[in-house]
């Protein structure tokens, strides 16, 4: 069972259709599946809904698909730093469902775990609760949030072995892990494929069962939104 594909386009072949729901990993520009997003753009598929914490920035990540008008709806927690997004949103061309960041992450995990709904205190008494069932547990209000069941997951990982066991790097793990679990099919781009047996079985972040297709996306030129540094003290 070969999971490795020669290119992003090949890995997405047969998986894309207009109007589909895609769950994508990444936080800001950290750990976004950039090769796969580029290939989605190049495919021309449209009317997409993305469940993703952010919508990229103007010409990065999902931002590229906004520019080409392939996105109809975003399910996200934060969409700042994105002028094109703002323009389309204010013009009513783009639908947005705001989901609190933790609720969004849990909705993806729930979808992946076969849980169609769960109760949370997050958002009680706010706009987020509008239209949602409220239930009282032990005297406190909670709202019902729904699991996200996506058609496709797009994920960026650090290393994978040939069976699709994944390891992420530092804070690039973020939404990639829950997003990977909630799609009918999960396609992953990695920096490196390592031989079977070179990953520590106690340290697999996401077992290969979740991964159907992979590509090596290296070399990466990783972008940073806000470079913040300190000066070295003189020796």
């Amino acid at each position: 069972m070969n999971k490795l594909y020669p290119s992003a386009a090949a890995a997405l072949d047969g998986l894309l259709k207009d109007g589909m729901l895609i769950a994508a990993g990444g936080f800001g520009l950290c750990g976004i599946p950039e090769r796969l997003l580029d290939a989605v753009r190049d495919s021309g598929v449209k009317d997409l809904t993305f469940a993703s914490n952010n919508a990229g920035i103007d010409n990065e990540g999902i931002g590229k698909l906004l520019r080409t008008r392939q996105v109809r709806k975003m399910i996200a927690s934060y969409v700042g730093e994105n002028k094109e997004f703002e323009r389309q949103f204010l013009a009513g061309e783009l639908e947005v469902e705001f989901s609190p960041q933790g609720t969004l992450a849990e909705r993806m995990r729930a979808g992946g775990a076969g849980i169609p709904g769960f109760y949370t205190r997050t958002g009680v008494g706010t706009q987020v609760a509008e239209g949602k069932e409220v239930k009282v547990f032990d005297g406190e209000d909670y709202i019902l949030e729904r699991g996200i069941f996506a058609d496709l997951s797009l994920v960026k990982a650090w290393k994978a072995d040939e069976t699709g066991n994944l390891v992420f790097r530092k804070t690039a793990r973020n939404f990639n892990l829950p997003a990977a679990t909630c799609g009918k099919v999960c396609v992953v781009e990695v920096e490196e494929i390592v031989p079977k047996g070179s990953l520590d079985p106690d340290c697999i972040h996401l077992p290969g069962v979740y991964v159907q297709r992979m590509i090596v996306g290296a070399p990466y030129d990783k972008k940073i939104e806000f470079v913040t540094t300190r000066k070295r003290e003189a020796a």
């Binding site: 800001g28 960041q101 829950p178």
Partner: protein, 219 residues
């Protein structure tokens, strides 16, 4: 620090952060919001160790990296480059918010546009303006054990921000435990109690606070 800070009586942004930092206890796990709250990290009292959580998936945030050592895979929730500590741990976003929602974080410090006398907080959107989203703010105020708001006492227009009821869409209902402004500190022992004025910034009088506050509070 703005010019305003130097001229007006009351606390500077750094002093506000330092005041909030006095609420830290040894062993606390803390999430700091963007802006003044971030400055709290610079004022951790001596002898106290706290561990900073970043909701994008890290415990044990280190200082900004040295120039040239920035790592695109290592950022905080404000998307700034940070560094690692010997006891840092990484995890995914669902695990991160399980930690937050589950009440395992002791304290969060965050900014606000309005706080109501019943503990409601509004800090994520202004109707008519572009909505950027709530990010993790709703999760934090709903899940963290103690919520400290750090904000200017009045808006740029001079309007009180600690008010009878929020006029802006809420981030959380009845969640705030303490308010540190540039003029004073309010606190309440639990979510059924009213806020109490417990401290005044240097040169500020109770009368100043009365004039700039429309919320009911205990003096």
């Amino acid at each position: 620090m703005t010019i305003h800070d130097h001229l007006a009586k009351g606390w500077t942004r750094d002093q506000m952060a330092a005041r909030a930092a006095r609420e830290l206890q040894d062993g606390f796990y803390v999430n700091l919001g963007i802006g003044i709250p971030t400055l709290v990290a610079n004022h951790v009292p001596e002898g106290i160790e706290v561990t900073l959580q970043s909701e994008n998936g890290m415990l044990g945030i280190g200082p900004f990296p040295y120039e040239g050592e920035e790592d695109a895979d290592l950022i905080n929730a404000g998307k700034q480059t940070i560094s690692e500590l010997p006891h840092s741990a990484y995890f995914d976003s669902a695990a991160s918010f399980a930690m937050i929602r589950g009440g395992h974080i002791d304290l969060t410090v965050l900014g606000a546009m309005e706080v109501a006398e019943n503990g409601d907080i509004a800090n994520w959107m202004i109707p008519g303006k572009m909505i950027k989203g709530m990010g993790g703010a709703m999760d934090l105020v709903a899940g963290v054990k103690k919520i400290i708001v750090v904000m200017e006492h009045v808006s740029k227009n001079g309007d009180p921000k600690f008010i009878p009821a929020c006029t802006l869409p809420l981030t959380g209902r009845n969640v705030v435990d303490m308010i540190v402004t540039d003029l004073a500190v309010f606190q309440r022992p639990d979510h059924n109690a009213p806020f109490k004025l417990i401290e005044l910034a240097p040169g500020v009088t109770k009368e100043d606070i009365r004039q700039k506050t429309t919320a009911q509070y205990i003096e």
